[in-house]
Homo-oligomer: 244 residues x 2
Amino acid sequence: MSPSSSSDILIRKLQTISDIREAEIAVLKSIPIQEKDFSANHDLVREGDHPVYSFVVLDGLIGSTKYTSEGKRQITSFFVGGDIPDLHGLHLSVMDCNFSTLTPARVGFMRHDVLRSICDQHPRIATAFWRSTLIDAAMYREWVTNVGRREAYTRMAHILCELIFRLRAVGRIQDHIADIPITQAALGDALGLSTVHVNRMLQELRREGLIATTGSRMHAIDWPGLTHAGDFDTTYLHQKNPAD
Amino acid sequence: MSPSSSSDILIRKLQTISDIREAEIAVLKSIPIQEKDFSANHDLVREGDHPVYSFVVLDGLIGSTKYTSEGKRQITSFFVGGDIPDLHGLHLSVMDCNFSTLTPARVGFMRHDVLRSICDQHPRIATAFWRSTLIDAAMYREWVTNVGRREAYTRMAHILCELIFRLRAVGRIQDHIADIPITQAALGDALGLSTVHVNRMLQELRREGLIATTGSRMHAIDWPGLTHAGDFDTTYLHQKNPAD
DNA sequence: CGGGGTCTTGAGCTCTATCAATACTGGTGG
DNA sequence: CCACCAGTATTGATAGAGCTCAAGACCCCG
């Protein structure tokens, strides 16, 4: 991998969503980040926790998950490199969801007290962090819509669009080829679908010539076609420079 | 109506979710709030707007809504008295959803520049506002789960629990009787269900002795039973004093 | 060369949507 | 006060999307 430090990953991400100047970059670089590796399907934060750290995703895919009393799992959002999934915990004393690795992942922990004092002293950074959580909220809104009102085929296409677009936005992938070792079961938990039906929808997307998969590599062969099939509009991701 | 001003409604709500002191109350009271009445099904904010105001709900029910390209509507969250639904717009230049009245409603508009300067000068208020948006996000997460992984009957019960609990939390209703003139079609849009099925689920809840309805009045006869049927746990609402 | 996890396939069934008709309800004007 | 009307609620019947169950194929890894 290139010599991008955990700070660089964090800063790069914040720059895609807000205006960060030299002064703030220096401050962000000063945040101590404790890196750690995890295997897939590991709970980093659990419902009911009172965390004193937030973490930035350095590599891999993280999901925020909730369980119904029947034990069914719902993934409510994905988080990719640079994202700070549980930044929400900074001002919510109790966690209302879990954050789990969906693939092997590397994350960097940052102390809440450090983050809070930085927010107090650097309003532009505070705003950037706040904005980051607002974008999370916008994604949740889109997911409610996706799960509530789109049929399985469209829903599947939509989530693939979001994943690929976000990975591109933070420079993790080129073109529209993503290497994401996510299981079809996890996709089902994100879409509110059974594993079997996920499988069939992926087949249909392949049959339509929109995607191709080899192992865990997902290739959006026909990106315009996929975005159309997925009813995908990037507005809700609130990128500063909406390429694509 | 009692002589509670729009400021009082806002302050009362913020006190249910965070610690507000005398000093901040005075500041909040100084915010100019322009009140306005709307009939049901009126768009207060539309997707694509670049709003310069946020509004506080003074009376009635507001929904954040999105439409798929097929024209299907999804309500992604409800907002009751005291809530500031589009506070998210303070740091998101483009709106990614609509905010519409679901019942006749009274709202109070507050200028963004005023809110921003208050946030800059009063970090505790900034935190309270931020926290308010984080709680919105937590509700969105719960809604993803509700729509994605609960079956219609449970889903219906859950949303009724949320509505009633939140109305109680801000002192709009006593006991568990809510007067909400929301249509079954709107409930369907919130739950990702057809109107017909909403109707049948409500009937089943009545048959089970959990609720009773007379006109627009919704009475949770058996609150413990309803929360159980709805798999409802209040954690995600992040009340400071979780009564009930 | 296993073996556990994942993917794929088939068949039957359930939940929920759709369509269509009928009742109700509150508000309106005569 | 009543007749009317639009919107809403209710009901029945049918269709379809997606689930469940179960079995087999595949694939990576030790």
